[in-house]
């Protein structure tokens, strides 16, 4: 299995959200701890795309608990969840 570091996960997730959410490169609100849903960077279609991307890119299946974990609303939290899932599923 390919080992993916947190920084690689972070870069991939942030880039994907920037693309799917059409985030301007100089948008000051798009931070690692911004609430992606409240701020409008992810809508209902965006989270479907992101979930599919995560499953395909990292071979990680997000559960119902993951999707409604408040931490998934931020880039920082999302990276933590994917990293934890990667370890669990590789074990």
């Amino acid at each position: 299995m390919t080992v993916t570091t947190r920084s690689e996960i972070h870069a991939a997730i942030a880039d994907f959200i920037r693309e799917v959410g059409q985030v301007e490169p100089d948008d000051p609100g798009f931070t690692d701890d911004a609430d992606l849903f409240d701020a409008g960077y992810l809508d209902s279609l965006g989270i479907v795309s992101l979930t599919a991307f995560i499953e395909q890119r990292f071979r990680v299946v997000l559960t119902e608990q993951d999707l409604f974990n408040p931490r998934i609303a931020t880039v920082t939290g999302m990276v933590e969840i994917i990293a934890a899932r990667s370890v669990q599923q590789a074990a």
Binding site: I47, A52, Q65, F68
Partner: protein
């Protein structure tokens, strides 16, 4: 410990057995056992301090709340939980294809998934073999209904599209007294739209009695609150479908009130999700029924996963004591394994053999709720023109289910899944 509001009967349905039974009948909720159990069911039962909530793979909805004094409160309908005094914020969805185990003493909640959606796979069996086996299973499943209930009244919802056409054609092989119901929008011209006209033509070709269900704007607006309440969704694509089904359910129930026997309603639902056969619709410059920008295989899985939100069929028909049956649920897993490159007419033709006339395959796809390929009239234009979209539908939904407040509902559904607690809910308060 456990309080339930489960009026929708369970249906144990395989290709050689078909039983309709009350939801309170005990079921073995061992995941391995459920994995072999076909049909649609929502089960809530307790053993000691543990409440088990089990749901089928696709069809029946199960919502729940955990209350400090009452324990687990489970229901088929969100509105019943609201009526029972549960706030919308305390309501969660039991995921499809899984058992939710709630230990009230230890204050834990665990999810045990017994079914995973398959994805398209190459190799053996070939698509031809898969379709041949699926076609046989589909036919046997329909025969199982009439074997178990030979005197049941059976209706089929026939939109005129390929999915319902195949269900109608297969049902005609096994059901002696079959009536096809087709929704048609009354635009004042006296003519059916292309979809309804196609349904009528096909019913005539199959030799099935045809019953058009004609609704004008007033009838559609009257059906909207019921569609929201029973269809359990506020998102436009499900609301519009639920309105069609509310109108059909009303007509079927009215026609069969004297029937002192079960009334089964066959539908062609699920096939569009399984084959990813959806496209957005543009009306007055605005895109409706938008889809995520992902590949076709992931799209199909996402659409099928999303079926666990919204209750546009079973939830709607059940309130009229009609037993909605979705035959394609019997072969969903087979169809998900087919390559996405297979076009729907090819799939339907393989399943139908010579049961359908050649001209049905050449008709342009038209959705009943859209009014026709040009989107001129019908449910979508009516609702959009009256401002019933987006946050207004969220507001209307809250009113329809009896919720005093109207929170933004987007956080209740994420990636097609109804909210599920990430930790024991009472730990939040």
């Amino acid at each position: 410990m456990l309080e339930t509001y489960l009026p929708v009967p369970n249906v144990v349905w395989s290709d050689d057995a078909f039983v309709v039974e009350a939801a309170d009948r005990p079921v073995d909720t061992e995941p391995a056992r459920l994995a072999r159990m076909a049909g649609r069911f929502a089960v809530a039962q307790h053993r000691g301090d543990t409440v088990m909530l089990a749901r089928d793979r696709y069809g029946l909805k199960l919502y729940f709340a955990i209350d400090a004094a009452r324990g687990v409160v489970a229901a088929n309908y969100i509105a019943d939980l609201i009526t029972a005094g549960i706030p919308l914020d305390g309501i969660y969805g039991a995921p499809a294809g899984a058992v939710t185990a709630i230990d009230l003493r230890r204050r834990t909640i665990e999810l045990h998934r017994y079914h995973h959606l398959p994805t398209a796979a190459g190799g053996d069996p070939s698509p031809r073999e898969t379709l041949a086996a699926a076609g046989e299973r589909l036919s046997r499943s329909l025969r199982a209904i009439t074997t178990a209930y030979p005197s049941a009244t059976v209706a089929v919802c026939l939109s005129g599209g390929l999915d319902s056409a195949l269900v109608a054609a297969l049902a005609r092989e096994h059901v002696a007294e079959l009536v096809a119901y087709t929704y048609a929008f009354d635009d004042g011209t006296g003519d059916f739209g292309p979809d309804a006209a196609g349904g009528q033509r096909l019913a005539n070709w199959l030799g099935i009695r045809h019953r058009p269900v004609i609704a004008d704007a007033n009838g559609i607006f009257l059906a909207l609150p019921r569609a929201l309440r029973h269809g359990q969704d506020w998102r436009d694509f499900n609301v519009h479908c639920a309105i069609v089904n509310e109108l059909l359910a009303e007509a079927i129930a009215a026609d069969t009130t004297s029937a002192n026997r079960p009334v089964f309603v066959l539908t062609g639902d699920l096939m569009n999700e399984v084959l990813g056969d959806y496209t957005p619709v543009t009306y007055r410059g605005m895109r409706h029924y938008a889809l995520p920008d992902i590949g076709p295989d992931l799209m199909r899985v996402s659409l099928v996963r999303g079926l666990q939100c919204g209750d546009r069929e079973v939830g709607v028909f059940s309130t009229r004591q009609l037993v909605a049956l979705q035959p394609y649920a019997q072969i969903c897993d087979d169809l998900l394994r087919l390559p996405s490159s297979l076009a729907k007419p090819t799939v339907i033709q393989s399943l139908a053999g010579d049961l359908l006339p050649p001209w049905v395959y050449g008709r342009p796809k038209a959705r009943a709720q859209v009014g026709g390929p040009t989107v001129r009239n019908g449910i979508l234009p009516l609702l959009v023109d009256s401002g019933r979209l987006g946050s207004q539908l969220e507001y209307d939904f809250c009113a329809a289910i009896g919720c005093a407040t109207s929170p933004r509902l987007t956080r209740y559904v994420r990636a097609g899944l109804y909210r599920f607690p990430h930790q024991y809910p009472l730990e939040d308060v």
